[in-house]
């Protein structure tokens, strides 16, 4: 009797196998593990690896060194894409930040109808880029759109035809892109403004600092994290720019509004030129990493020190 008792005790007292600990959580996380390791990590490594091969119609492990990259950087279409992205990106970044901040600051001034204004500024964000692109394609239509309306008003020499003019086609995209994207950043900025202690405003009033100066000197520096987040958000959105171009301009006129994401898609699924697609997408990833590393450093490196 006593011996059975001790036996039972020692069995109960044994440490369970580590591997089976928390088993349900591990099983339930299998889809996540698969997605993280196989799809995301595995997929990325696969693409990078194959960007160094001569894959054409089908992926082939035939080493070609940097040949795909050399071809990429001598392709006029790619260079135009990169240049477009740089110009579009720079303007979109600056304008989005400025417009979104001004709108947020205006909305934060205890105005009537704040909800209505916010609803109007944000609704484009709920739409697909395809919808956005098609609407603006219609509004900018030279025959019936804005140009025509202004000419009908009497300015018969008025010219604004971005979708058919390679020189200004990027501004056509920019108008649509800003229309869709500023609402989100505005909401984020508004949240940031709401996070600022109301006593700050009282203090600046006691100190006799004007409203505009308060925003520039006190509020904006306090909102650094919000600006950083917005920057990252706008930045990676720009790199992904694709649907809008497809819908609004199809890359035209000619190749004047091509972007890298579209180059990748055309090479991989249109041109049967997989190696080019892999190399181009690897370059896209590289650019995102270049954007992200300083941000990660600022966000996380900075915090550890503090």
């Amino acid at each position: 009797m006593a011996s059975i008792d001790t036996d039972a005790r020692s069995r109960a007292g044994r440490r369970p196998n580590r591997l089976f600990k928390n088993m349900n959580a591990k099983l339930a996380s299998l889809p996540m593990m698969f997605t993280a390791l196989v799809v995301f990590l595995g997929g990325t490594i696969w693409t990078i690896t194959y960007s160094f091969t001569s894959s054409g119609l089908l992926p082939r492990l035939e080493w070609a060194g940097l040949e795909q990259y050399a071809r990429l950087w001598s392709s006029r279409k790619w260079l135009v894409s990169i240049e477009n992205l740089a110009i579009y990106g720079f303007l979109s970044l600056i304008l989005t930040l400025v417009i979104a901040f001004i709108l947020a600051a205006l909305l934060d001034r205890k105005i009537r109808g704040e909800d209505t204004f916010r609803t109007i500024f944000l609704y484009p964000f709920a739409l697909s880029f395809i919808v956005t692109g098609l609407v603006w394609q219609w509004i900018l239509n030279p025959q019936f759109g804005v140009q025509d309306v202004v000419r009908d008003l009497g300015w018969t020499n008025f010219n604004f035809d971005p979708l058919n003019n390679p020189e200004i086609v990027l501004y056509g995209l920019l108008i649509a892109g800003l229309w869709q994207g500023t609402g989100l950043i505005m909401c984020i900025m508004l949240a940031g403004l709401r996070g600022i202690d109301e006593d700050i405003w009282k203090a600046t009033r006691v100190d006799g600092i004007g409203t505009v100066k308060t925003y520039l000197v006190v509020i904006i520096p306090m909102m650094r994290p919000v600006f950083v987040t917005s920057l990252v958000l706008i930045g990676s959105g720009i790199v992904k720019l694709y649907d809008l171009v497809v819908a609004q301009t199809s890359g035209g006129p000619g190749i004047s509004s091509e972007v890298p994401a579209k180059y990748v898609m055309t090479s991989m699924f249109g041109g049967q030129n997989l190696g080019q697609g892999f190399a181009a997408s690897t370059m896209m990833m590289l650019s995102v990493i270049i954007i992200l590393i300083p941000w990660a450093y600022l966000e996380f490196g900075g915090r550890k020190r503090g």
């Binding site: 005790r9 109960a12 007292g13 044994r14 440490r15």
Partner: protein, 360 residues
Amino acid sequence: MNHSVEIKNLDLSFGAVTVLENLNLDIHKGEFLVLLGSSGCGKSTLLNCIAGLLEVSDGQIWIEGKNVTWEAPSDRGIGMVFQSYALYPQMTVKGNLSFGLKNAKVPKAEIEKRVQRAADVLQIQPLLDRKPGALSGGQRQRVAIGRALVRDVDVFLFDEPLSNLDAKLRADLRVELKRLHQQLENTMIYVTHDQIEAMTLADRIAIMKGGSIMQLGSPDEIYNRPQNLYVADFIGSPSMNFIEGEFDGTHFKAGDMNMEMIGYAYVGSLTPSARRATIGIRPEHVITGELAATAPQRFTATVDLVEPMGSDTLVYATLDGKMFRIRMDGQAKVKPGESLPIGIDPARASLFDTKTEQRL
């Protein structure tokens, strides 16, 4: 066998950080044991280990004669009450009380019986169909206690159960808890940082610091005979006065003070040898007024600051160039700058080895 919960050589570390080290604790059946310490001392961690909510690194935990070191919390025969009440917000009070029993597949009639009994004991009958959101803090904590009660277990674990309540409610519930313990006679392990709760509720108190137990004893022992400087300093408000000096075997000397330790009960009944020592005197053990003249040891202090608190008066004075706290009667009339004759009874003082910080 009289053991209810036994903790044997318990170790717990997270990576390189050791939280509990070689901890041993033996809790008797029906005992009310309080784990007392400041935040980060490991008291809640220890309770979580007993409950099985934290996995220990080494050592064993036995509950009611069974090694439960690797058992699931629900299989250990414990009930637990949390600081934030931790009631399931979307369930009614009844649902909260019966959730554990349903998980254990207790028959419906039995669940009903136990819920009714717990509700009777805690006087929460009218609240059974309400949701926790509609209850006051005190009522919520009662339901939380009820959740432990229905489990019909031998050991109750309390993790700072009164800390979220306001002062008056806390005092009321403290009394109720004590009554509950007298009525149920369960083993109760109670974590708190509040000395008053510890002193009033406990059969024994374990004072913890840095993952080890500094002293385990009855409230009386802890208060009157602290084992070491840490416990002496921790217990009592305002805290003990400490004077560093020399002990020569019979007298304690510091500056102008030369005190013969008449009537002092040394640890182990042997008089210790000469060494550097620290004497500790509780502010409330300082003799003042007419009795000061007849005290075993007499000194004169200078009053610096007076804090009248109604029931008593706290005097900050200078003795031998150092600050000295004295607790006097609430009606005592003293003014800053005054000379105050005081007396000390060595029998009520505590003497510590300055180096080892242990009681002599």
